[in-house]
Amino acid sequence: MNAELQAVLWAAVTLGIYLAALRLYRACRVWWLSPLLVTWVLCGVLIVVFHTAYRDYLRGTSWLVSLIGPTTVAFAIPIHENRALIRKYWVLLLIGTVAGSAISFGSAWALAWLFHLSPEMQASLLPRSITTPFAMTVSQDLGGLPELTAAFTAITGLFGAAIGEGVMSWLPLRSSFARGAFFGMGAHGAGVAKAREIGEEEGAVAGLIMVFAGLLNVLAVVLFVHLRG
């Protein structure tokens, strides 16, 4: 098959599976039917079954990947719309962002050390708790593999959203802030969606913590890499 046709075909397959998965998820709302997981697994199976090189798959779908940049810019809108909340509770948001990032990096570092992971794998694992566009940047700056980080981040989000409500029922959390931070820091995008189901303020806080943690990590790593030279 000629390369252009193959590229168009893979783009169509990806979009088709995604749209079907989205419809299915809207009807059923169970975490293991999340469009992310369904599209990922089905496309992965098809690539392996048809012996397609990843390079050829990406030729058709890299335009989707380049939309990650504009979508990162779009994070400005939820921040702007929640500016009243930020002004009022900036201390709590800051505490949550800094503590959450520290715990996320600390735990990943400790687990990587415990499991004797290679430096490359460790760097890919470290930013798994922040939202994927930022996590991929951080991974690249630390010398990891951004695509693997995208995969770890996806698993983190899916798992966090799946166990979230169960774990939360064991915690004596009185404030909507803690519940929002719980989901936004622990499970980024998937967690924010879950937090929105729980409450409006939880959803807003989760979204803010997610974006702030992403920004903090990107800027901290830029600084770190710069200082190290």
Binding site: T14, L15, Y18, S34, P35, T39, W40, C43, G44, V48, V65, I68, G69, P70, T71, T72, V73, A74, F75, A76, I77, P78, H80, E81, V91, L92, I95, G96, A99, G100, I103, S104, S107, A108, L111, A112, F115, M121, L125, P133, M136, T137, L145, E147, L148, A150, A151, A154, G160, G164, L171, S175, F177, A181, F182, M185, G186, G189, V218, V225
Partner: protein, 136 residues
């Protein structure tokens, strides 16, 4: 003539505040501009982050209206998962993950996630309870 220009502007603005595709194009333009500036002046932060900061500043200073961006942002953010999928599929290139290393990585993610969730929530809850009541 002046009236015609005025009317065209108004129609363009009207479309811009309604059509999410047009708004998505605006985000693409901001991102491209951010990338260009970052490359030109060798700024170490990603162009998308610079673009986001600039957009936030412009909104805060009321240079532009959030109505031109709201629908586009919602549309793009709703489909972020789709944009990430091709990158995540790079795992098919890493067959070495079907091994002990892959298992360790998965276990690390599965242990780490509840730790981050619980740790962050507990810290924020303590911070919340330490606040004076009138500020809550």
């Amino acid at each position: 003539m002046k009236l015609a220009i005025f009317k065209t502007c108004r129609t363009a603005r009207w479309h811009l505040s309604r059509n999410w595709w047009l708004q998505a194009l605006l985000f693409i333009a901001i991102w491209a501009l951010g990338e260009a500036v970052v490359r030109q002046f060798s700024i170490p932060i990603p162009g998308s982050v610079l673009g986001m900061g600039a957009l936030l500043a412009a909104l805060e200073l009321r240079w532009i209206s959030v109505r031109w961006f709201r629908r586009g942002a919602r549309g793009l953010l709703a489909h972020l998962l789709l944009f990430l999928t091709p990158a995540m599929l790079a795992v098919v290139n890493h067959r070495e993950l079907i091994s002990m290393t892959g298992l360790k990585l998965i276990v690390a993610v599965l242990i780490g996630t509840p730790l981050v969730m619980i740790g962050t929530a507990v810290v924020v809850e303590i911070g919340f309870r330490l606040q004076p009541i009138r500020e809550r």
